[in-house]
């Protein structure tokens, strides 16, 4: 159907742009490839977990940085975690901010850390909205009876 075809095209374009802009990287493609009949909602599940986890981490980070005496090891630990999960799902830009964040932690640079946290929040919100948009597109395709195109 034309509708399906159009949706599919949209999907492909959108995914490509996300990759080009660095929001998502190849790891996300890997995730999509992992999805199969035995695990049909794999990507959505993993990403949902990621959202939950990220929000917790961001809160923890905010709290940690607000302490009178900042425990940089703890902060670094959270960031490390965030970096790990972000890179696992392919949220490249988020992972990159984490790298900078860790450097500031090592230097015990509070200002740098606070700035990074802000950046982290922004990138996270961005990637979250983009992924949600992507999932919506997928849903539309499926509802219209089509197949989600495989990205290479």
């Amino acid at each position: 159907m034309a509708a399906v075809a159009q949706l599919q095209r949209q999907f492909i374009e959108y995914t490509t742009s996300l990759h080009n802009e660095g929001y998502l990287d190849d790891q996300f493609t890997q995730l999509q490839k992992l999805q199969d009949e035995s695990n049909p909602d794999f990507v959505v599940e993993v990403v949902s977990l990621y959202f939950e986890d990220s929000e917790k981490l961001l809160n923890n980070l905010a709290t940690a940085l607000q302490q009178k005496i900042v425990d940089y090891k703890q902060v670094d630990s959270h960031v490390h975690q965030f970096k790990g999960s972000s890179s696992s799902i392919g949220a490249q830009r988020v992972a990159t901010v984490c790298v900078h964040f860790r450097n500031f932690c090592e230097e015990k640079n509070l200002e740098g850390c606070v700035r990074c946290l802000q950046q982290l929040k922004q990138e996270y919100i961005l990637v979250r909205s983009k992924l949600e948009a992507l999932f919506r597109l997928e849903q539309q395709i499926v509802q219209a009876g089509g197949q989600i195109p495989m990205m290479e």
Partner: protein
């Protein structure tokens, strides 16, 4: 593909089943345990591993993973662990797993800095993967399992152990191993390891007759023999100990320079490993005077006691202690391990006490009872856990003697299953093939860990490290706890991670030092091994009793066709087990032990 199981904080009692059918196509069916506090990574890895046709179990807490491994040692082939975890340092988990279970461990981290990777290697990681991990990287992890098995086999061979075939035969009772492993306690004992390494058929005798017609005379490094070796080394000084001189000092007829040389090599590796953990330097942190090489020899009882008193027994100390213990056959061996909780002190150091007690008790048992089969079992090399089962009393003796002793004890103690159950608790992680060198503290551990398949009797070595852990033998719960703590402690010390130790101890939640693997498993295990031994005929009837029980283990050797071959080749076992498809257990076991578990 089987579905993985997830273990949060140690919940879940998943039997380790192998899906029949997948085992036919090795490496399909490889049983992987993934430990990572990041649930997202865990989920992704799980899916990737499933796609590789592996059998996956996930764990988000290191302590839970450790417990799981202790309970079901035979249920896993390889462990994948993250480095950065809140409840326990990944490297510590790595060490513990290597010591206690002798499983290949692959580390993972988003942090790929060279120093961390190096640390991983130093702690014994088979590989270090940098996140994000791709599916392709996971496809080949089976190589580590096979390689390890092969290497252990090779070492085993070189060390002149008894013909594995014999051992395998004895292990015929393990058929049920796989199937029972999951049952509460009937689990098959990972005696495979023992079997494989069971070099010694006799306690302390040199065996030169090889049924299989092997070319080398196999030396059974019994406890006594090992003690003699250790004494000789001590006398000469580890740095100056050369095989020729050791041989002279030992003055054991029939022992060749080659036998000593290979044994020495293992011993050295063990020592190195122990000290290497502490960043390459003899852990002087312990008592300040332990230098890995030289100290071993000089470690005297007093020192050990002093250490014990101080509550911090470094691994070396334990080794030394162990050695001391070995030399003193006074103890009341008769002490059943199971109920033995003697030294469990809340502090970490308790181990020392245990060691002592073990040492003492063992001698008597060992000498008398350690039938070859026992030894074999003990040595299965990959895990000391056999010993747990086997020797009720063994539990006490973590060290190498323990193994042998365990067997002996086991046998003497319980011909019945129930006994074995107890034994299980003891779960001494004697690693069958390991060189158990009680005397040399850390070195011993190393040896053990290196899988020096010296002799079952040498299990002691493994003892050191694992023994520490094993001390807990007795009652699983408490003792184990302590042990774990201690072990951890010791380990930490060695590795210079004192803080970690404490840390780990705490974290360890239930400490089951499951050396012996959970009860159910134990039962079968040791008994089985014993049984195996008997099969061969070297083992007296007491083993016979066990044979009956180890149903699941399909003892490789026994009647299973072509079991014999299993013994030596790890990969074969692996494959065999796979084929057996039956119980996961078997599959696992075979890896290590070759001998023991043969999936039917």
């Amino acid at each position: 593909m089987t579905t993985g199981s997830s273990f949060g904080s140690g919940s879940g009692s998943l039997g380790c089943k192998q899906e029949t059918g997948v085992m036919d196509q090795f490496p399909a069916g490889l049983r992987v345990l993934v430990v990572d506090d990041d649930v997202i990574c865990l989920k992704i890895l799980e899916q990737m591993l499933r796609r590789c046709s592996y059998h996956v179990t996930t764990c988000s807490q290191a302590s839970a993973a450790l417990n799981l491994l202790r309970e079901r040692k035979r249920c896993f082939d390889v462990v994948l662990s993250d480095v950065h975890m809140p409840d326990m340092d990944g490297f510590k988990l790595l060490e513990l797993v290597g010591l206690e279970m002798d499983l290949p461990v692959i580390m993972m981290s988003a942090d790929g800095r060279t120093n961390l990777v190096l640390r991983g290697i130093r702690h014994g990681a088979c590989d270090y993967l940098i996140k994000p991990i791709r599916e392709e990287q996971l496809k080949n992890i089976w190589q580590h399992v096979v390689r390890k098995k092969w290497n252990e086999n090779k070492e085993h061979e070189h060390s002149g152990s008894v013909d594995d075939k014999d051992r395998h035969k004895r292990g015929g009772d393990d058929n049920d191993y796989a199937s029972s492993v999951n049952e509460g306690g009937e689990g098959a004992l990972p005696s495979h390891r023992k079997k494989r390494n069971n070099k010694e058929d006799d306690d302390g005798e040199l065996e030169t007759d090889e049924p299989g017609g092997s070319k080398k005379a196999r030396v059974v490094w019994s406890v006594e023999l090992h003690q003699q070796f250790v004494n000789a080394v001590n006398q000469l000084g580890i740095d100056k100990a050369v095989p020729k001189r050791i041989l002279e000092l030992m003055n054991v007829p029939g022992l060749t320079r080659e036998n000593v040389a290979s044994h020495l090599q293992k011993f050295r590796l063990y020592l190195k490993r122990l000290s290497g953990v502490a960043q390459g330097v003899g852990p002087s942190s312990f008592c300040g005077s332990m230098e890995q090489n030289s100290k071993l020899a000089s470690y005297g009882r007093f020192e050990i006691q002093a250490l014990a008193a101080s509550g911090q027994i470094p691994p070396q100390t334990l080794v030394a202690l162990h050695a001391e213990l070995l030399g003193q056959p006074t103890a009341n061996v008769g002490l059943p391990v199971i109920d033995h909780q003697p030294l469990m002190q809340p502090s970490k150091c308790m181990q020392v006490d245990h060691v002592m007690s073990y040492g003492q008790t063992l001698p008597s048992n060992i000498t008398k009872q350690v039938p070859q089969s026992v030894i074999e079992d003990v040595h299965s090399g990959l895990g000391a856990w056999h010993s747990n089962n086997m020797v009720g009393g063994y539990g006490q003796f973590g060290g190498q003697n323990g193994h042998n002793m365990l067997f002996g004890m086991l046998q003497s103690q319980s011909q019945s299953q129930s006994q074995s159950q107890q034994v299980q608790k003891q779960s001494i992680t004697v690693q069958p093939s390991r060189l158990v060198v009680p005397a040399q503290s850390s070195a011993n551990f190393q040896a053990v860990n290196n899988g020096v398949p010296v002799n079952p009797s040498h299990q002691t070595t493994s003892f050191n490290r694992s023994s520490v852990i094993n001390y807990g033998v007795g009652q699983r719960s408490e003792t184990e706890m302590k042990m774990t703590g201690c072990a951890v402690d010791v380990e930490n010390r060695i590795g210079g991670q004192g803080s970690v130790a404490n840390h780990s101890i705490k974290e360890m939640g239930e400490k089951q030092i499951s050396f012996g693997e959970s009860v159910h498993v134990l039962d079968q295990g040791p008994l089985r091994n014993l049984g195996f031994v008997g099969k061969k005929s070297s083992i007296p009837s007491r083993f016979a009793g066990y044979e009956a029980e180890s149903p699941t283990h399909n003892l490789n050797y026994a009647d299973n066709n072509g079991e014999r071959r299993i013994k030596q080749e790890p990969n074969i076992d692996f494959l065999e087990n796979s084929k057996a498809g039956g119980t996961a257990v078997t599959h696992r076991v075979s890896q290590n032990d070759l001998m023991s578990v043969y999936s039917e």
